[in-house]
C-alpha cells in the first residue's frame, strides 16, 4: 500500500482537533450555552405573565405598573361585580360552552378525517390543501367572509352558530395534523389482527383503535379546547351580539385603566391551567392504568 505524493492519508487529515472525544461523563461547553439559552427563553416566556399575575393582587390603590401597592383580592371582586358595559361573567360562560362544543366536534371529526387519510383516495390532495389553506388564511379575512356570507343568506351570526363554524375552521386542521403525527405510530397490523379474529369494523374501532390512540385523542381535545378558548380573529366578526371571553378582553384592552384586566388575565390563565392539568392527568392516568394492569396481582 503506497501513497503517491499529494494524497492525504486519514492519519494526516486535520480531523482530530475538531472530532468529538468521548465524554468522561461531563458536559460539553455547548450544553451550558444551550441550557443558558433555554433558561432565558423560559424566563422570558413566563416573566411578563407572572408580572400580570402578581400585579392583579394589588389593592384598590393599584396601578398598571410596578411597584406593587398592597395585597388583596380587590380587583377580582371588581371584575365580577362592577357594573360595566361589558359582561365578563356571561362571556366566560359562553367561552367555556363554545370551547366544549368545539372540543368534542374537533376530536370526532379529526379522528374520522385522519382515518380517511390513511389510504389514498381520489381528491385527497385537494382536501389536504383546503385544510392547510384554512390554517394559513388570515383569521380576520375568514371572519369577515363568514359574516358577509351569513348576512347574504339571512342567518344571524351567533356564538353558537357562525362563531362555532369559524373556530372549527381553525381547530380542525390542527387536530388533523396532530392526529397524523399520532397515527404514524399506529401499526395497521393491529387492525388486521382484530379483523382476523372476527371483529367488525366498529368493534375494531372501539376496542383497538380508540384505546391505543387515546393519549393522542386527549392531545387533540386539549388543542381544540385551548384554541377555541383563546380564539379571537375569526370569532370577532362571527360571534354576533354576545361576546366570548377573548372579545371581552379585547374591548377591555382598548381602554385599559385598571388592574381588573390583569385580574381577568389571572383568572383565565388559572382556568387554562386547570384544563391542561386535567388533560395531562388523564393521559398519565391512562398510561399508568395500562402499566398497573400488568405486573401480576
Amino acid at each position: 500500500m503506497s501513497t503517491s505524493p499529494g494524497t492525504v492519508t486519514m492519519a494526516q487529515a486535520r480531523v482530530s482537533q475538531r472530532a468529538i472525544a468521548p465524554s468522561r461523563g461531563g458536559r460539553p461547553w455547548t450544553f451550558y450555552a444551550l441550557a443558558a439559552l433555554f433558561t432565558f427563553y423560559v424566563v422570558a416566556l413566563y416573566g411578563p405573565m407572572i408580572c400580570i399575575y402578581i400585579l392583579s393582587f394589588q389593592d384598590i390603590r393599584g396601578g398598571l405598573v410596578f411597584p406593587m401597592k398592597g395585597l388583596s383580592l380587590h380587583w377580582f371582586i371588581d371584575l365580577f361585580t362592577q357594573v360595566r358595559t361589558g359582561d365578563v361573567q356571561g362571556a366566560f360562560e359562553r367561552s367555556i360552552k363554545l370551547a366544549v362544543l368545539v372540543t368534542v366536534i374537533t376530536v370526532v371529526v379529526s379522528f374520522m378525517a385522519a382515518m380517511a387519510f390513511r389510504r389514498r383516495f381520489p381528491g385527497d390532495n385537494i382536501v389536504f390543501s383546503l385544510m392547510i389553506g384554512s390554517l394559513v388564511a388570515p383569521g380576520l379575512v375568514l371572519g369577515i367572509g363568514v359574516g358577509l356570507l351569513f348576512n347574504a343568506i339571512g342567518i344571524e351570526t351567533s356564538w353558537y352558530g357562525s362563531a362555532l363554524g369559524a373556530q372549527l375552521s381553525w381547530t380542525l386542521p390542527f387536530g388533523v395534523l396532530v392526529m397524523f403525527a399520532v397515527m404514524s405510530r399506529f401499526n395497521p397490523a393491529w387492525e388486521e389482527a382484530a379483523r382476523d379474529l372476527g371483529a367488525t369494523a366498529w368493534q375494531t374501532t372501539r376496542l383497538v383503535i380508540i384505546p391505543v390512540l387515546a393519549p393522542g385523542l386527549v392531545a387533540v381535545a386539549l388543542f381544540g379546547f385551548t384554541l377555541s378558548y383563546d380564539e379571537f380573529a375569526r370569532t370577532l366578526q362571527t360571534a354576533g351580539p354576545q361576546n366570548t371571553l377573548p372579545l371581552e378582553i379585547w374591548s377591555m384592552t382598548l381602554n385599559v385603566t385598571s388592574p381588573s384586566l390583569y385580574a381577568l388575565g389571572t383568572v383565565t390563565t388559572v382556568i387554562s391551567f386547570i384544563i391542561i392539568g386535567t388533560a395531562l392527568g388523564a393521559i398519565v392516568l391512562i398510561q399508568k392504568r395500562r402499566g398497573a394492569r400488568a405486573g401480576g396481582h
Binding site: A194, G198, A294, G296
Partner: protein
C-alpha cells in the same frame, strides 16, 4: 378420499396490482389436512401475498382458494376457519396477555366469565399462566410468540397461517421456538401454513416445502425431496447444500452423458428417465456438497466411478460438525465441499492448497432447465 376439513387447494391463484404488476402467477397447489407446509423463497417472491390471500386479508385477482372443500374467496377471514399469526405478532399493546387471547371471544359476545374460562385453559396450554396479566411490552420475543399463537388458536381454526414467525428472534430462541411450533401443530392437529425465507427453518419444520420465485412455484414436496433432489438450478441453489455445474452435452453413452465447458475437462453424469437430452444441449448438473471428497493431487481415483476436478482452496469455514471448504473448481461460480470435521483434521488443508475435488459419478444429478 373424503375431503378433510383443513386441506387447502389453490387453483390458478393470481394477484396483480393495477393489472400491471403481477405478484402471483397462477399458482396450483394442494396441501393435505394436518400438514405443516412451508412456503420458502426470497423477499418479493409472492409467498406472503399467497398467505394473506388464504387468510382473506387480500383478494386474489383470479383463481380459487378451496379450504375443506369450500371456495373461500370473498369470505371474511373469520368465516374461513383460518387464523393468522402476524409478523412481529401484532399483539394489542393496550391489552394484557389474557385480554389479547380472549379478544376473539370478546368480539363474539361471550361474557367475561365464559371467555376467561376458555382463555385460561389456552394460557395453560402455552404455559404462560404466570404472565397472564402482563402487557406485551413486558414480554420476551418468545413469550410474545406464544401469546400470538394462543390468540390465533383460540378461534379453533382449521388452518393456521404464520407470517415469518421466527424472523424477529435471535438464533438460540429461533431453534427453541421451532420445537414449540412443531409441538403446537401436533397437538392442535390442524394444517399450518408457514412463510419463511430461511431454508433451514423450512426443511426442519415442514412436511411439505413449497419453493417459490417471482410469483411461481418452483418445486413443492417433502423436505428431503426438495433438498436432496432439487428439480432445477434455482431450487438447488436456494436450498443450499448443492453445487450446480453447467455445460454443453458432448456425448451420450451407456446411461450417462458427458458435458463440458470451455475452461475445464468434460464430466460425466447419469441420465434420468424423465428428462430428455440431446447432444449440444446446455444442461445443469447438481452435486451435493457433502458428496464431495477432497483428495491430495496425487491420489488414485477410478475414472469409471468418480469425477474429479482439480482446484485450489479459496477459503475455509469451520462449522462445528463439518468444515466448509470453498474451491475455485468452476470459474465465476461457487464450488463448496462439506468435509466431515474429523476427516478434515486428519489432513487439514490451508488456503492455497491444490486438491482434487472428487465425487461418485452416480451421485451427480441432472436438473431440469429452469
Amino acid at each position: 378420499m373424503a375431503v378433510q376439513r383443513g386441506d387447502i387447494e389453490l387453483a390458478g391463484l393470481s394477484k396483480s396490482y393495477d393489472g400491471i404488476h403481477t405478484v402471483v402467477h397462477g399458482i396450483n397447489l394442494k396441501i393435505p389436512d394436518g400438514a405443516y407446509c412451508c412456503f420458502l423463497g426470497p423477499s418479493g417472491c409472492g409467498k406472503t401475498t399467497i398467505l394473506r390471500m388464504i387468510a382473506g386479508h387480500e383478494d386474489p385477482s383470479d383463481g380459487e382458494i378451496v379450504i375443506g372443500g369450500e371456495n373461500v374467496v370473498g369470505l371474511a377471514p373469520i368465516q374461513r376457519g383460518t387464523a393468522m399469526m402476524f409478523q412481529s405478532y401484532a399483539l394489542f399493546p393496550h391489552l394484557s396477555v389474557r385480554d389479547n387471547i380472549a379478544f376473539a371471544l370478546r368480539v363474539r359476545g361471550l361474557s367475561k366469565t365464559d371467555r376467561y374460562r376458555q382463555t385460561d385453559a389456552m394460557i395453560e396450554k402455552v404455559r404462560l399462566t404466570e404472565l397472564a396479566d402482563r402487557l406485551p411490552a413486558q414480554l420476551s420475543g418468545g413469550q410474545q410468540q406464544r401469546v400470538a399463537l394462543a390468540r390465533a388458536a383460540i378461534t379453533e381454526p382449521r388452518v393456521l397461517l404464520l407470517d415469518e414467525p421466527l424472523s424477529a428472534l435471535d438464533e438460540q430462541l429461533r431453534v427453541q421456538m421451532r420445537l414449540e411450533l412443531q409441538r403446537m401443530q401436533r397437538e392442535l392437529g390442524i394444517t399450518f401454513v408457514h412463510v419463511t425465507h430461511s431454508q433451514l427453518e423450512a426443511i426442519a419444520l415442514a412436511d411439505m416445502v413449497v419453493v417459490m420465485e417471482s410469483g411461481q412455484i418452483k418445486q413443492a414436496g417433502a423436505a428431503r425431496e426438495v433438498y436432496a433432489s432439487p428439480r432445477d438450478r434455482y431450487v438447488a441453489e436456494f436450498l443450499g447444500g448443492q453445487n450446480v455445474l453447467s455445460g454443453k452435452v458432448e456425448a451420450i453413452e451407456g446411461g450417462r452423458l458427458l458435458f463440458a465447458q470451455p475452461d475445464r475437462k468434460p464430466l460425466s453424469a447419469p441420465l434420468r428417465a424423465n428428462i430428455r437430452v440431446g447432444v449440444g444441449d446446455r444442461i445443469d448438473v447438481a452435486v451435493r456438497r457433502d458428496d464431495i471428497e477432497l483428495l491430495r493431487p496425487n491420489a488414485m481415483i477410478s475414472a469409471q466411478q468418480q469425477s474429479a476436478l482439480p482446484s485450489r482452496v479459496l477459503a475455509i469455514e469451520y462449522q462445528g460438525s463439518f468444515v466448509k471448504v470453498m474451491l475455485d473448481a468452476v470459474a465465476d461460480e461457487e464450488f463448496v465441499a462439506y468435509v466431515p470435521e474429523r476427516t478434515f483434521y486428519r489432513d487439514p488443508l490451508v488456503i492455497g492448497d491444490v486438491v482434487l475435488a472428487t465425487w461418485a459419478i452416480d451421485h451427480a444429478r441432472l436438473l431440469d432447465r429452469s
